[in-house]
Amino acid sequence: MALPKHASLLERIWHKTYLVICGLIFLFLISPILIVIPLSFNAEPYFTFTEKMLSFDPTGFSTRWYDLLLTFGMTEPDAPRDGSWWADAWANSNWIGAAKNSVIIGFFSTLLATVLGTLAALGLSRPEMPFRRAIMAILISPMIVPIIITATGLFFFYSKTGLANSYLGIIMAHATLGIPFVIITVTATLVGFDHSLTRAAANLGATPTKTFFTIIMPLILPGVISGALFAFVTSFDEVVVVLFVAAHDQQTIPRQMWNGIREQISPAILSVATILVIISIALLTTVEVLRRRGERLRGISPQ
């Protein structure tokens, strides 16, 4: 992107301006995500930087909002912090309860989405697959159809079939929402997959199952894991379906955040947000590492 030596003055000025504009856009993209991190350590119940925070006075910062995440909902939050205090937090804290629900729902829906999605992607990437295009369009559609429509439909359907207010219902719904991501990432890994490898394996006497686990699986694993992570994030961040079909006591982290934002907005929300940002940084790193590994495995190196 460097300018050639013969660039005119006007071009040089424009180039500099262009870089500044790009910098500002990157700032626009990233600053809203990073801004919540320092604010979550605010000692005051405000949503902005206090004077003390700006002058880096240690008394302006505190971890009280993180503490509140643990104590909110506990029976005896002021008891000495020994084993029974932590047991109390584990059993009664609202946010820990929500986290437990989110992880359970996320885990099972990811499992379901990944297994079904990977199988389907294997079928879809075979050249002889009939109605490929139409089926692909149906399988991707949960990503395109607005979540409010899916949630409305699920609400009617679940109240008829008795799946409303059940974990099974939420897990199935979240799996459906995660499936497009699994399909997209796994079919992307299967593009350029060398089918002579499976034929060679069969030729050497491997059963289809053995071929799958020793030849295909290691090659598509990066795509499968990325897809699974996408599916997990989708479930972990999903609030509308939960609002529509879950029972009142089935709290998840996004639902707690949703209620928190709508009703009693406090910096405790920002501490949750910070934790979620850190989780997403970890996930992004994992996916990037996997992507590069997958490219290396399949012999596509970056130019």
């Binding site: 697959m129 439909g153 009617f156 199935m172 130019q303």
Partner: protein, 435 residues
């Protein structure tokens, strides 16, 4: 050797067969259809699962949008036993055409039905169904049902004594419409139309018209947001595409991190930034750009929706643009320059046309996602930043007019599916990439 093969072929004038004697053509066809079946059986479990968790619910929603049995069937909460209600009135409607002045037999039929409603405790349900068409009808039904058992002929007079409403032809038209469970009326309501007493369709009163406006606002805001994401995404996608890969991979984090961050977190961040006591306003007051008393209201209005949604949807524009720009050969632009084009002409005539497929893909994707957005407008939109999805949620959760919600959702769904079909046609759904 070659001669020998030729001999063998010539000495076999009959059809080519496989080793076990099947004709080769049939054997090939069989093996091909076996391969097809194998591929299909891999997809089948997922397809069955999706029919259960996605297709059926949507079908159910479409059904709900034309079907509302509130005035025809009562279902017991516990025993699930279904009892037809308003039977006598329906008979009267069947015998008398639309526009007939309700006579004493009609009122007698209603009183009998009200007594049934009271026994079933279904007067609220029936009243609610009429309430969708005419507000205030719910209380009319509950209070009339309470007194129905003690009523004596003439029933017309008895009912009119309870409430003059019973003589209103509009109420009768509404009851006639509701007396069949299948009705297109919710679709009419969803586009601000209503039925008059004689059954013809007309626009609703100016100050009750709501939905067409909201559809228009949703379209307008979505177009605006799509345009803004394009304006912001184009420069950075170009920068990312022209930088050496080791730098652009690093800068890509700025695009991908928002993509991976929880939607609620991003919306919360914008609330923190845009509040009137928030970071941006504080910064402007602190630096003296703004006086403390003129803090700008940037949230709970359209501005909030536009800013937050532009930020949230920006990665969906950057990624398709990037994947189209990356393979563009820089020597085209260089050739144009060396042939005497100014840098602007070279961009306009050479570079830009090559990026149009990416613009199309990104714009269509962002637009599709924006039209159905719910969470962000609900949290930062205030009153005038709401989109159609928010009204669907309102009817689902607050007003409990589920059929109207379903009708609105079906219209939205139809629009989305047309755009989705267009996307698949123009870009191909397989080309959708995530990071």
């Amino acid at each position: 050797m070659a001669d020998a093969t030729a001999d063998i072929i010539q000495s076999q004038p009959q059809k080519l067969t496989t080793k076990d004697g099947k004709p080769l053509k049939a054997a090939l066809a069989a093996s091909q259809s076996r391969a097809k079946r194998k591929a299909f059986f891999l997809v089948l479990p997922l397809l069955a699962f999706m029919v259960l968790t996605f297709v059926m619910p949507i079908v159910q929603m479409l059904h709900q949008s034309v079907y509302n049995p509130g005035f025809t069937i009562h279902e017991d909460v516990i025993s699930k036993e279904q009892t037809p209600i308003m039977v006598n009135l329906r008979d009267w409607f069947d015998e008398n055409p639309r526009g007939t002045e309700p006579d004493e037999t009609a009122y007698a039929a209603i009183v009998q039905d009200l007594i049934v409603l009271r026994e079933l405790r279904a007067q609220g349900q029936a009243g609610t169904r009429i309430n969708y068409e005419r507000s205030g009808s719910r209380s009319l039904f509950t209070k009339s049902a309470r007194r129905a058992p003690r009523m004596e002929a003439p029933f017309k007079q008895a009912l009119l004594e309870i409430d003059e409403e019973w003589g209103d032809p509009e109420l009768w038209a509404a009851m006639r419409d509701a007396s069949s469970a299948y009705t297109p009326n919710f679709y009419l309501a969803a586009i601000d139309l209503t039925r008059t007493d004689d059954g013809s369709v007309e626009r609703v009163n100016e100050n009750r018209a709501l939905y067409v406006n909201l559809f228009q606002r949703t379209l307008f805001l979505s177009v605006l947001i799509t345009f803004l994401t394009f304006v912001l995404a184009y420069p950075i996608a170009h920068l990312l595409a022209t930088l050496p890969l080791r730098y652009s991979n690093l800068l890509m984090i700025f695009v991908l991190l928002p993509f991976w961050t929880s939607l609620l977190v991003r919306t919360t961040s914008w609330m923190v930034l845009l509040q009137s006591q928030g970071v941006l306003n504080d910064a402007m007051v602190g630096t003296g750009i703004l006086a403390d008393e003129n803090r700008i209201q940037m949230m709970y209005n359209q501005t909030g929706t536009i800013v937050a949604m532009t930020h949230i949807l920006l990665p969906f524009m950057v990624l398709p643009l990037y994947s189209v720009m990356r393979p563009i050969n820089p020597s085209y632009v260089r050739a144009a320059r060396s042939l005497g084009a100014t840098s602007w002409t070279a961009f306009r005539r050479i570079y830009f046309p090559q990026t149009v497929p990416g613009i199309g893909a990104g714009a269509l994707l962002v637009f599709i996602l924006a039209v159905g957005y719910y969470i962000t407008p609900a949290l930062v939109g205030g009153a005038d930043g709401q989109l159609i999805s928010n009204l669907i949620a309102f009817h689902m959760q607050k007003s409990l007019n589920w059929s109207l919600a379903a009708a609105l959702a079906s219209i939205l769904l139809a629009g989305i599916l047309i755009l989705y079909w267009l996307y698949d046609r123009l870009i191909g759904i397989d080309n959708l990439k995530l990071g």
